[in-house]
Symmetry: none
Subunit: 204 residues, 4 copies
DNA sequence: CATGAATGAGGATTCATTCAT
DNA sequence: CATGAATGAATCCTCATTCAT
């Protein structure tokens, strides 16, 4: 392997992007387990798996870039819609944006979840999950200080919210006629009730 | 030998159980993707992968039995703790039991989730998920009729609750010092607030 | 292996016969290639392939006995019908008997041919073929001396006749509605013309 | 790589031909049953069975190409020598060409017969056999119309002739010093007598 | 004698990766 | 840069054979 050192050329970047896109579609369609280099090359219209190996040092590297790409788009999309306003408003916007991203980016999200659970790289996967959660927890903490939210453990609640989102993604992806809009509404209500500072109802 | 006919002998059952146990541990440790017959045989201390093939007609059959075994234990454990009382009480007991099962059955639950997302059998996997959700939805519907819960879509809410549980399992499994008890409390509060019939707090 | 030495007991003989019968049926049904010990044991209603190995030192030994058994029955049947009369009459009777044996012994003959071509034992297979041919050649030679037949090479002609018989067996076995009786007539006519001492027709 | 799309390159064709040749030789030497990819790779001087799988989608595909290759050469050889003249002349030429092909193509014919009887593809095997016989039967029917042949069943007689040829192939292949030329002469005489329109000799 | 569990070699096939062109 | 041929390890699975009970 005589790998690059300097800046990647334009062609280089284009190829890598093409391969990453094909990998995302392939994984979303047949799952990580069956997404071989052959399958990805076929999806991309490439004539050889060698080209993938040429541009990515290993399959793990390709998958890392796939993940990076998805998260970049996903994060940007969500951030743009949830980076201002009150914490409660931002949380609602965060949830809404997560669901909205599903439309038009189904493959991105399905692949993201598949990689999170099936990719053989516990290390970076957990790091990513922790970082996602930490950012959301920060928002929740802010909201608690401003009185938007009740007094829960922000880290745990952030995990809850991300779990809920993951569940919605999986279900929307696997159930053909799923009504995502209605689900989003119910999810918003649910999260609002779970986080709002109103006095807790009496224990049953 | 295509497959046995009559009742399995004691030795047969013991070996099968041993292999299933080894499979659960192996999948929990390295994920389904890397849980080859070789790896499982190594975990079980078997001398050959042929022995696994001798006792299970195919890898799919082994995985089916793994799933069956896990679900049997898990379901029995949860059912025993959540089959009586008011719907709200049963829901709380259900959540609690799910979390309690994690202690002493970490590998079972990790493997269950791994199989649910990575196994190459979309068919039965989705069927299982739908059936789990349907049963929980039924409980929720009952609770709505009795005034225990507010007026949400029971099917969606059931999905939410299972997603939350899955998230807790994954986190408890991957984060060494995770405080499962505290998480359970927070989860109970969260679900109670999400489902309780109290007037919704004013929208932010 | 602690193999026998003295005379086989009655039970021993019965078991061996049962296994041989099952082997014949299994090979006829699915071909030698797929006739594993498992398949044979299943056909025989045995509960273990170990029993086959117990009674036969190896698969090759079993196949040898299968062949011996088939040939014993086949030879006896044919010999009883073709051991007297003029050589020409005996030849016709030989051919007829070969065809008649097909009825009621389809599996025997199909297995015989399958073993002849697929069994991994060139040695004894060729020996058998040569011996069959030699015996038939002897009959032909007798017939030539008595003026029943023209002056062909008996060894070659014997080979021809056996080839014709093999072809008829294969075809009758593989073509469901095949009219074996009509074929036998045609075959008799053909062989009679091929061997008769009449002046050869003028070369075309 | 599922399979190529465009035209195969020169190298591709060469490798495939090499593998097919090695398969033919291997099957001829040890029979289809023992002609594993390992054995074929060894014969071909390849470093790995993976290379065979790289060039042929499955063993069945390889065997299909082996058969196609053999039949193409064999058919062309025979057709070139038996496609003109009177039906009787063409039949004689057909028989002669079949025998002549043995010289220099022993392995081709031995493999052809082995595949016909041992290959696990009853379907196409029977189709091939029927098609061969049908073509020969057509020639025989023509000859009957022109008075070259007596009034036999053309389909049966075609089967007889092919059986005779198969027998000659097997014998020439397995018996080292076999005099193929003499056999061919005897076979020609035999077939001529069997088919000629001369009055049948009086029944014995 | 019979059983069925166990063994280990060998089967075809897939795949990420390498490398000459 | 791109190609596609080549590699070899690893996959699941089958099978004849062995052996303790």
């Amino acid at each position: 392997m005589t790998r690059k050192q300097g800046e990647p050329t334009a062609i280089e970047r284009a190829r890598r992007a093409q391969i990453v896109r094909a990998a995302i579609d392939t994984i979303a369609e047949m799952g990580y387990a069956r997404a071989s280099f052959s399958a990805i090359a076929r999806t991309a219209g490439l004539s050889s798996t060698g080209l993938i190996s040429y541009h990515f040092a290993s399959k793990q590297c390709l998958m890392a870039e796939v993940m990076r790409t998805i998260l970049a788009e996903f994060t940007a999309f969500v951030a743009a819609r949830s980076d201002h306003g009150t914490p409660a408003g931002r949380l609602a916007a965060f949830v809404t944006a997560n669901c909205e991203f599903m439309q038009g980016h189904r493959n991105h999200l399905v692949t993201m979840l598949d990689l999170q659970s099936a990719a053989p790289d516990t290390e970076s996967r957990d790091r990513q999950a922790n970082s996602d959660r930490a950012k959301l927890a920060e928002l929740l903490t802010d909201g608690q200080h401003e009185g938007d939210f009740r007094d829960f453990d922000p880290d745990l609640m952030a995990g809850f919210i991300l779990s809920l989102r993951n569940g919605v993604i999986l279900r929307a992806a696997s159930q053909p006629g799923f009504d995502l809009a209605a689900c989003t509404d119910e999810l918003l209500t649910t999260i609002q009730r779970a986080t709002s500072p109103q006095p807790a109802p009496p224990t049953a």
